[in-house]
């Protein structure tokens, strides 16, 4: 008769960027059952959005997550702009696209480093984060802060990218691309990396669709779905195709994110070359009208969904946020039973858990 042990994975674990507890029941090194315990990061942000004046919600909602902060900021501003609706200039859309892709670069570089750390490849973790410092310096020079950018306002953006900054961005992105490419070659061809990730944590295409996964977790199982195909911001004018892999294991999820990192650098360079001239902010008058609006964007982890309802006063009636890790967590509960003890960190990390997003 095999012995069963219950081991708490988390809330503090070196592999997790944010706290979540998974109570794992083991039978001799094989996981049999998983019970999640969430609530360590809940701050009541949706309720706080109803108590603030509408313009202050931007500063609240961009602090839902530190890694995908720019996408939260761009989505909340756009959902409030859709209440009037406000007509934006093309330059505002291009600037928001460029900063969105820059934030995606830093998020994927962070995740690739954490994946290397999850199976002990610490030198690759340090190399990826060294490249990430260059992207964070770019964000600081163009928006003012490294992590929480605070550059969106209702009606536009607050800072502009001039010619000198544009040249600097192009130079730095060239260096980032070259360095990332050589590290990604190591990631995809090294046999130790493959031994820990190939065949581990397989999600089939039918399972991914029925569990409601989003983002790279879905695209690594063969489903070609990306919210950027709905042509919000300036994505309609850029040359964009979703990146899809078919094997559905942790290695496929790593390859999808690595290729998205390189694609995101190319999208930024293309957007910089095509950016039109124009105003960077549009005047918005009055309070949010009594209306409802919905906005979906592609955060680095998947589809981010915001719903706002105004009632004619300065305060919004309701703000609803549905983050991508909310949709990807059930996949972890299906992946873990049946896997070995040493595969648990790699499996949990492969969906890119952002628990502070889940428990806003």
């Amino acid at each position: 008769m095999a012995t069963r042990t219950v081991v708490p994975f988390g809330p503090q674990h070196p592999v997790l960027p944010e706290p979540i507890q998974l109570r794992l029941t083991y039978e001799d090194e094989k996981v049999v059952e998983v019970t999640p315990v969430i609530g360590y990061g809940h701050r009541g942000i949706e309720k706080a959005c109803e108590l603030n004046e509408y313009a202050k919600n931007i500063y609240l909602c961009e602090r839902v997550c530190g890694i995908c902060s720019y996408q939260h900021s761009a989505t909340v501003v756009e959902v409030m702009e859709r209440l009037w609706p406000v007509e934006l200039t093309p330059r505002i859309n291009y600037l928001r696209t460029i900063w969105s892709e820059m934030a995606r670069c830093h998020s994927h570089l962070l995740w690739l480093g954490l994946l290397a750390d999850a199976f002990g490849f610490e030198s690759m973790f340090m190399q990826f984060w060294r490249i990430r410092e260059k992207v964070l310096d770019l964000l600081e020079q163009t928006t003012g802060h490294r992590v929480i950018q605070s550059v969106n306002i209702v009606g536009g953006v607050r800072r502009d990218i001039d010619e000198q900054q544009k040249k600097m961005i192009i130079d730095v992105l060239g260096v980032v691309r070259k360095d990332s490419q050589s590290l990604i070659n190591t990631l995809t061809s090294d046999y130790t990396v493959k031994a820990r990730t190939v065949g581990v944590g397989v999600i089939t295409k039918e399972q991914a669709i029925s569990l409601g996964c989003a983002g790279p977790t879905l695209r690594a199982s063969g489903v070609s779905e990306d919210v950027r195909l709905t042509k919000y911001h300036a994505y309609g004018e850029l040359n964009f195709e979703p990146i899809v892999e078919t094997s559905g294991d942790c290695f496929a999820r790593a390859v999808v994110r690595a290729r998205e990192l390189l694609q995101s650098i190319d999208l930024q360079l293309e957007a910089l070359s095509k950016m039109p001239q124009g105003e960077i902010a549009v005047k918005v008058k009055g309070n949010p009208p009594a209306n409802e609006a919905v906005m979906r964007t592609e955060a680095p982890r998947g589809e981010l969904f915001y719903y706002a309802k105004g009632n004619g006063t300065r305060r919004l009636e309701r703000m609803k946020i549905r983050t991508p890790t909310n949709a990807n967590l059930p996949a972890v509960l299906v992946l873990l039973p049946g896997c070995q003890l040493a595969d648990v960190p790699v499996n949990v990390l492969s969906i890119d858990p952002c628990i502070s997003c889940t428990e806003r």
Partner: protein
């Protein structure tokens, strides 16, 4: 193994990627948001900054004619700087140093409201 070799050689013969902190300090960029300072000579106590602050870090006391600022609550979002009609708030690019006790800055405003021509 040869895939990682160029990175290994570059790291062996290049310098360290980290800075020796107290000796070399990282200078922030000119566009960075550092800390807020108030110019008492221009402030007219109109209260536009206190209305806009998302973190409730500024409060105005009209009887004592002072402006109270809590630097520990400030999130350096720059909304007060952009909203001040008398340009009395400056945004520097150097970050605040850490403190042991949360300070409270009390500013005596000395600016005069501009007279509108009749």
């Amino acid at each position: 193994m040869p895939v990682m070799l160029p990175t290994v050689l570059k790291n062996l013969f290049g310098g360290p990627a980290t800075r020796l902190y107290p000796v070399t300090v990282r200078e922030p960029f000119d566009n960075a948001r550092g800390q807020i300072t108030f110019n008492d000579d221009k402030c007219t106590l109109c209260g536009a900054c206190a209305l806009r602050c998302p973190a409730d870090a500024i409060s105005i006391d009209k009887e004592k004619k002072t402006l109270n600022f809590h630097p520990a609550r400030c999130i350096v979002c720059e909304v007060c700087v952009l909203g001040c009609p008398s340009d009395a708030i400056d945004l520097g690019f150097k970050w605040r140093t850490p403190f042991y006790k949360k300070p409270l800055e009390v500013h005596e405003a000395r600016g005069k409201k501009p007279r509108t021509p009749t």
